[in-house]
């Protein structure tokens, strides 16, 4: 249960009492989350807390076992096209074809999203993520970090209102991290929404305006990020120290 009442927002994307089960495993239980324009939300919690499941539900790639995902107050299933057009998702998987070049992958994505000025938008995305020199390189030949950049470019190509990022900093070099951080700060000011997860609390807290802490599939805190420490329930340095001194603890 949320420990603080979340600030009132103009609801755009909402999880209403959502649970997700994988067989007997409850990945997410009774999640209530309202995401509105201008939000920058950090999802934080230990491994297996349900962050990825929650992000996948918001991105509409997973269907809830119980409850509803609402887009502008209507079930996302009934308005799938409008919801999907408004969401950009970066996952652990890149969603990229290894044998297609960077440009071909973006062109394919652009066609699926029906971009009106695809060429212009692709050029802008390539420039933003400094991928112009790699535009004609097959994705398979790129490093993990470069593939992550292409994945981000793909997710941002259609200028989504909601950007859902699952561990977006994985594999990125310092320059790209800085670029992404700048973008994540700017988007909420433009009325767009960023929901992201990271294990780097300090970095995440610096970017977020709201913190959602998950533990064992339940939302334990949903409120302002200011003044919150890394009270994630993750066993910290003291536990590690104890484990070294007494391995059987």
């Amino acid at each position: 249960m949320p420990s603080d009442t979340p600030p009132p927002v103009r609801v755009s994307l909402e999880l209403r009492n959502v649970s997700k089960y994988y067989g007997d495993l409850a990945a997410l239980v009774g999640a209530q989350l309202r995401v509105g324009p201008g939000d920058a939300i950090l999802l934080y919690g230990p491994n297996g807390a349900g962050k990825t499941t929650l992000l996948r539900l918001l991105a509409t790639v997973a269907r809830p076992s119980e409850g509803e995902v609402l887009f502008h107050g209507k079930n996302v299933r009934q308005h799938a096209a409008a919801a999907k057009a408004a969401i950009g998702f970066v996952s652990h998987s890149t969603f990229l074809y290894g044998d297609l070049t960077v440009r071909e992958n973006l062109e394919f994505s652009g066609t699926l999203f029906g971009l009106p000025e695809a060429e212009k938008q692709i050029a802008a995305a390539l420039e933003f993520f400094a991928l112009q020199d790699r535009a004609h390189t097959p994705v398979r030949k790129l490093s993990r970090g470069l593939q992550q950049r292409v994945s981000l470019a793909r997710a941002l190509l259609h200028e989504p209102k909601f950007l859902v990022l699952d561990e977006p900093f994985t594999g990125l070099d310092a320059a790209t991290v800085a670029t992404l951080e700048t973008l994540m700060r700017q988007l909420p000011d433009q009325g767009r929404t960023v929901v992201f997860s990271t294990h780097d609390f300090a970095r995440g807290a610096a970017l977020a305006r709201r913190l959602v802490r998950l533990e064992a599939g339940r939302i334990r805190y949903d409120g302002p990020v200011e003044g919150r420490s890394q009270d994630s329930g993750v066993r910290g340095p003291d536990y590690t120290k104890a484990l070294i001194l007494n391995p059987e603890s």
Binding site: S93, F108, L112
Partner: protein, 225 residues
């Protein structure tokens, strides 16, 4: 118009991927030729025997070539969760299905052409006199088979033991198509009057339409986890 654009984007992407690595066509054609070749050694049939064996033999080769084709088609999508990537786009999942189906139809169609050509050489059998009807029967049955195979290929893509499960799942459903294909092909190759096997052709066409419509409608659920 936008629907056609989506279908051709998916089709074009699959053709381009195949052009880059040529893995599907190479493996499917080699497999089909091997089946035809080995059967010839096993039975050493004369012309009468060939007439009796060929329809069944060809459809065995087509069926297993299809399994390879559908598995390969979704192996490319499985890598980096690309199928899920397509599910993120605001498009009717049925259009993605039609694009994938068309690509599989082209690949399996090419493989069938190669297999029939190999069979005509090894069995010293001319398909020319019955080519029109044989081509129509093969096309309609292949459309039905690809309609089923594309759907089950997508279903099996995220399963363990997918290579084993795909034929187990799809063959029972595709069985009427194979029966219609073998019966109608036998009539056509024997030179029987078309009226004696048009009912099989109609059955094949009907099944193809039903499978395409059903798969188009149900593909949304296939794309979901």
């Amino acid at each position: 118009m936008r629907s056609l654009k989506i279908i051709f984007a998916v089709l074009g992407k699959d053709l381009r991927l195949e052009w880059r690595n040529r893995e599907t066509l190479a493996s499917v054609c080699v497999f089909g030729i091997l089946v035809v070749f080995l059967f010839n050694f096993a039975f050493e049939p004369g012309r009468e025997e060939s007439l009796r064996l060929l329809p069944g033999l060809l459809w065995i080769a087509f069926a297993f070539a299809g399994v390879l084709c559908f598995n390969r088609s979704f192996a490319l999508e499985r890598e980096n969760a690309c199928l899920e990537g397509m599910a993120l786009a605001p498009v009717d999942p049925g259009l993605v299905y039609l694009g994938k189906m068309l690509a599989n139809l082209i690949f399996l169609g090419i493989a069938e052409g190669v297999i029939v050509f190999a069979a005509s050489l090894w069995y010293n059998f001319s398909f020319v006199p019955s080519l029109k009807w044989f081509a129509l029967i093969t096309f309609l049955c292949t459309v039905g088979y690809v309609a089923v195979g594309t759907t089950f290929g997508a279903v099996a893509a995220n399963l363990h033991m997918r290579e084993v499960l795909l034929p187990v799942l799809q063959f029972p459903v595709a069985l009427p198509i194979f029966i219609a294909g073998i019966e109608a092909s036998t009539g056509a190759l024997k030179g029987d009057p078309p009226s004696s096997y048009t009912s099989w052709i109609k059955l094949a066409a009907g099944i193809a339409v039903i499978f395409i419509v059903l798969s188009y409608l149900l593909f949304e659920y296939v794309l979901e986890e």
